[in-house]
Symmetry: C2
């Protein structure tokens, strides 16, 4: 069915460049910490010009947040694979915890941990989660046709995303920057349980 299609040389170079830049940003984040490096540093590490950096990302924070976006994109992908008659909350519960890409979850967790106390980066992460909401709403609207109750859908999807973020926050409080396999398993469980609470209407 849907092949990934044309990996032309140009396309390949483009994603390779993008990945190299994001990887360079992550490397500097790990080694120096947020705020301790500049866009020039990232560009130099990635082996591109400063100007090219800005062709791909609008800021250093955006480059780091791309890892969060990547995880959330894979969540949406999983979500679209669920049977379309399955209740949204159930689909979401599975999509958030699906291990379609273990590395994505690990990077989500790592960048989340390295983000603490860096307002501007936090804002970019928030935006990534919010855009995920928007995508899910669009997909649901697409699938169900014009919904009768916009408010219901927005509040529901927003709550799902909020539950996901709650799981991240609680995980980090409990585990700190530990991103071992064990720790990530706990994170997955928290993601599952958070949406579980939502599914049960927050009735204990």
């Amino acid at each position: 069915m849907s092949e990934t299609a044309a990996p032309s040389r140009r396309e390949l170079n483009k994603t390779a460049n993008r990945d190299a830049i994001a990887a360079a940003a992550l490397e500097l984040l790990r080694s120096r910490g947020m705020g301790e490096f500049t866009v020039d540093d990232i560009a130099a590490t990635a082996g591109v010009s400063r100007r090219t950096f800005f062709n791909y990302f609008s800021s250093a924070e955006a480059a780091i947040a791309s890892f969060t976006q990547k995880y959330l994109d894979s969540v949406i992908e999983q979500l679209l694979r669920r049977p379309s008659d399955e209740p949204l909350l159930e689909s979401a519960q599975h999509a958030l915890t699906a291990v379609g890409s273990p590395r994505d979850l690990a990077l989500l967790a790592e960048t989340y941990a390295l983000t603490q106390n860096h307002p501007q980066l936090s804002r970019y992460q928030l935006q990534a989660w919010d855009e995920c909401s928007t995508s899910i709403i669009a997909a649901a609207t697409n699938r169900l046709g014009k919904v009768d109750d916009e408010l219901y859908l927005h509040a529901l999807v927003g709550s799902i995303i909020a539950s996901g973020r709650a799981a991240m926050e609680v995980w980090f409080q409990q585990r700190g920057p530990d991103t071992s396999e064990t720790s990530l398993a706990i994170l997955r469980q928290l993601l599952f349980d958070a949406v579980g609470h939502l599914r049960s209407g927050f009735n204990p």
Copy 2:
């Protein structure tokens, strides 16, 4: 009981300055639109130096987002006034729609409307809502003592805030930049209904 206490001259000057700067930012936002003015413009309009602007706000966006923060602060204030044995969802429903400060809600709506398509400002607004979550969680933890289920509390409060944001979004889709009394009444109703959906566990 808790008086607002010492309005010393210094304190007064400080809040007056802060208000003047925020008002100047809003005025420029209204007259020129986001991205069409600089921090120097705001400082000049407010009658302070550029450097003083940065003593109060870290960016133009932060100055605009202060109106959202103000509304959310008043929500928290209302929330703390509710009887402490009332279920959190019920308290939240009332706090979000309480007209403790009609002007705050109007400014929330207006700045929300003027924010569309301005990523950096959107991020600041998101952050304001997120910090509100954090405050509510802290308050609840404070009131109930160390909670047994952190995840439950985080997911619940996050969902409340998400419902509030959902109401804002739906309101704006329906009403655009209309901030008349009638329109604001609709917004209040949407806020009430959004949390209502959450209260009923999203069961139609």
